[in-house]
Subunit: 501 residues, 2 copies
């Protein structure tokens, strides 16, 4: 390596450390705003985030950065594979950012910092109108940015790519059609047989006890409490500062024990992915999960494939009996498993069972697609939402709070994210089949710790962080291309058994 | 105003907004680290804080900043008084920072970000040795920085000035001598009469109930919960993001109800000062309290002069009887007042009664002074601490946890801060005398809200934030120079009454 190249690679490391620091700062401010900050404090937070984002923009798009990355790209054969990947990922960011005028970028960051707060209030007060102008801005900016980035591409394809590289509307349309083909008849059949009584899950579950359950579950999952803790927010999320510092959040409902429980397991799955990154990625852009599809494959793998399996629910039932004897003393393992997996069209995505879940995702996908195509405006969203819920799930949405205001994604600027949930779920089913070649999954679930499962995933997925693009990583793990029939088979088998179809 | 000057004042505003954003980010990261962050996460936090501090340093000391400030200083007659003050304060910072080599400044910031964690652990494990190297670095850097800044001044005088502009060792020595003259005989007399039984304050006080008490007290003080909330930390503190976003913290002890209660009132006093700043200071360096002496005058005014007054303790006793009937059902207002004010030499500064408190401060002052004079090294601190506690307070320090490891100040780099507590307490006594000319303090205490008191302070102190130096502000408020006999008279009168001396 020449002296010049050595200097440039040092500059590369420095650039990434700076990006890390600004990212850290913004995350910290965001986390505070979502958890403990007093209610009327968004102005000062927005000002700070706006200014910090100017620095991030400048770092990512400055002449020096572009020159540095171009130089390194030309010398990519002399770089380590890690450095080459750093350059590749930075150039991708750069390609996106450099086409956005700085004032628009900063204005958008300010809107985002306000949007979370506006959305919270709007949801609390079931007041879509108060959220509408902000939501319009967020959609408008995203559409505009997507067009700046790839003027010749359908902007929603560009948008999907930000969360799952390579994903297109075409693929989504086909994937969702396959799911619908299998899920809709299953739901119909389930509707015709006797229903599971899951009322014991809806009783009186003191928050303090639920917090104890959170600790129990995180421990069962093998999450190190010295590197990951759980907070409380309106909408659960995972946030990573480094591979040594990951935060998850949940929302406790006093009358519903399963809600927080499965939020914790879901976010815990995200957390394990982040906690499992190799040390070499630290303070570089390679740190962190590679795509939302892969991320959701991990979270939904733990939430559903493991967390809602007969082996796992059976293993944790004694803890439930100990903590909540009034509700669970007489519940058999089979009954507990059935309650946890009760399938039933409903209103709230995060509370949906594993079977109907993908239909909730499809509603959002259709709306985003139409918004990006200009076929819908923010004025139309509530009616469109309610229409699609009726059409896909057969339910009437009584208000926007339980309708189009339920999710935090749009207010966070995450448009194009939702399909990742469904695709991730399907990735997970194929990974399970592969995992079974090496791991006795049921025995692990019953063993008191899920560590052998996360070890398997760590070796094949976690440690690589963002070294490989999602498609490449998936195929490395599964030894085959993505095939959604693993998922539809899994669902058919599981629900036919539960409902004796 | 010329076009050029107009441009420069715009640059002045921009510079301050940037400093605000970096300060916001560091505060957010610090707050997270002190409250909810998992245990083993200091490395990533330190990296981020180190990089952010490079930017702060650069902003404060760059050639452009110096040229800008010099230009504006030359045109100070054409500036608004606010702008002139902004320039004055920025130049002071600049004078301090520009003499510190950037690498030393950044290295020091990294040490600080680690020190909080190291101190926490050391305190938990009563292990001074593990804290010693970090403490040595912190003292060494502070001494060096003070010498860089004012090579011809005694470095500890320079250090005192950072927390209370104008304060010198000479003044402190005289002030503390006066206090000792009055306090020591009082303590002796109190030791000779029957003691107050304050055992009802040490019972079983569930944390959840204490949290309710926190809300009650913050409400009583007139603190707006939409702009200020209370968290939990090892050592209570106040942190301000803006005048609209202030955080306080407390430490709950299940077996001691007064500890958190008076932390909340103390930090609440700091918070009121910050919350009361005028809007015009926002995002400028004039925002925030002017000195630690004035700040502590506000916190200790609420904690002691109001919070431990017979009028206030009498007013809140019914709430105690309602919340903790087992302990307080039979307690008379007079008895409650006496319990709250029990004077007794003790080990822990933050738990000390109002009378012996200043002696705790003097121990720290003497040690800092000797460390800065090179008469003491970090090896000597525990023995010196224990010797001085024996000498000043007559108590034997059983371990470093309850000795020289008890405070967070040194690990936070706040050397020279402690005298502010005693001076602030004395400021407060003189302010009380002035306040009585306008306000019936006892009637307000009994009225269910302290708002008339904070309104009086707001008009005279809070709104100005850092517009005036502490001495000027104090004399504006009191119409006379600082006179410590207000404080000694106040203490003699209060304790003679309580103990029938």
């Amino acid at each position: 390596m020449t002296e010049e190249l050595k200097l440039k690679t040092e500059q590369l490391a420095e650039l990434q450390k700076k990006l890390y620091a600004f990212n850290y700062a913004s995350s910290s401010i965001y986390l505070d705003g979502a958890t403990v900050a007093p209610r009327d404090t968004e102005e000062g937070r927005g000002e700070a985030l706006g200014i910090l984002s100017e620095y991030t923009y400048e770092l990512a798009t400055s002449k020096e950065t572009i020159e540095l990355l171009d130089y390194l790209k030309e010398h990519k054969d002399e770089l380590t594979p890690h450095q080459a990947r750093e350059v590749e990922l930075l150039l991708r960011d750069n390609d996106y950012m450099k086409n956005i005028p700085q004032d628009e970028y900063v204005a958008y960051q300010k809107i985002l910092s306000k949007a979370d707060y506006v959305w919270h209030r709007a949801k609390e007060e079931n007041d879509y109108e108060s959220f509408k102008p902000v939501l319009k801005d967020i959609f408008d900016y995203n559409i505009r940015f997507a067009k700046y980035y790839k003027p010749d591409e359908e902007p929603y394809n560009t948008q999907l790519n930000m969360f799952e590289r390579g994903l297109t509307m075409d693929q989504c349309d086909k994937f969702f059609a396959t799911l619908r083909e299998h899920i809709v008849p299953l739901i119909k059949k389930i509707g015709e047989v006797p229903q599971v009584d899951d009322s014991p899950l809806y009783g009186d579950f003191p928050i303090e006890k639920q917090k104890e359950l959170t600790k129990y579950l995180m421990n069962y999952m093998g999450i190190d409490p010295h590197h990951c803790v759980c907070g409380e927010t309106e909408h659960p999320f995972t946030l990573e500062f480094t591979k040594d510092d990951v935060r998850i959040t949940t929302h406790y409902f006093e009358n519903n024990v399963a809600s927080s429980m499965y939020s914790v397991i879901h976010e815990g799955g995200h957390a394990l992915y982040e906690l499992g990154g190799a040390d070499e990625h630290k303070y570089t852009v390679v740190a962190g999960g590679v795509s939302m599809g892969i991320h959701e494959s991990q979270s939904r793998f733990f939430e559903n494939i493991i967390g809602r399996s007969e082996a796992f629910t059976g293993a944790i039932l004694p803890k439930f009996k100990e903590m909540f004897p009034e509700q669970f003393a007489d519940i058999t393992p089979r009954r507990f498993y059935e309650m946890i997996n009760k399938a039933q069209p409903s209103l709230i995505r995060t509370e949906a069972d594993e079977l109907t879940y993908a239909l909730h995702v499809m509603v959002r996908y259709e709306i985003e697609k139409k918004m990006f195509a200009g076929e819908l405006t923010v004025d139309d969203i509530p009616a469109e939402w309610n229409k699609l819920y009726k059409e896909y799930l057969g339910v009437d949405v009584p208000n926007d709070r339980e309708g189009c205001l339920q999710d935090s994604h749009w207010s966070g600027g995450s448009i194009g994210y939702f399909p990742s949930y469904a695709i991730g779920s399907a990735y997970g089913a194929q990974m399970l089949a592969k995992m079974r070649e090496d791991v006795d999954v049921e025995a692990v679930c019953a063993s008191g710790t899920l560590k052998p499962i996360s070890d398997w995933l760590s070796e094949r997925i976690y440690q690589y962080a963002s070294m490989y693009d999602p498609k490449e990583l998936f195929e490395k793990v599964c030894g085959a291309p993505f095939d959604p029939t693993y998922y539809t088979d899994y669902l058919e088998k599981k629900y036919s058994d539960i409902y004796n179809l």
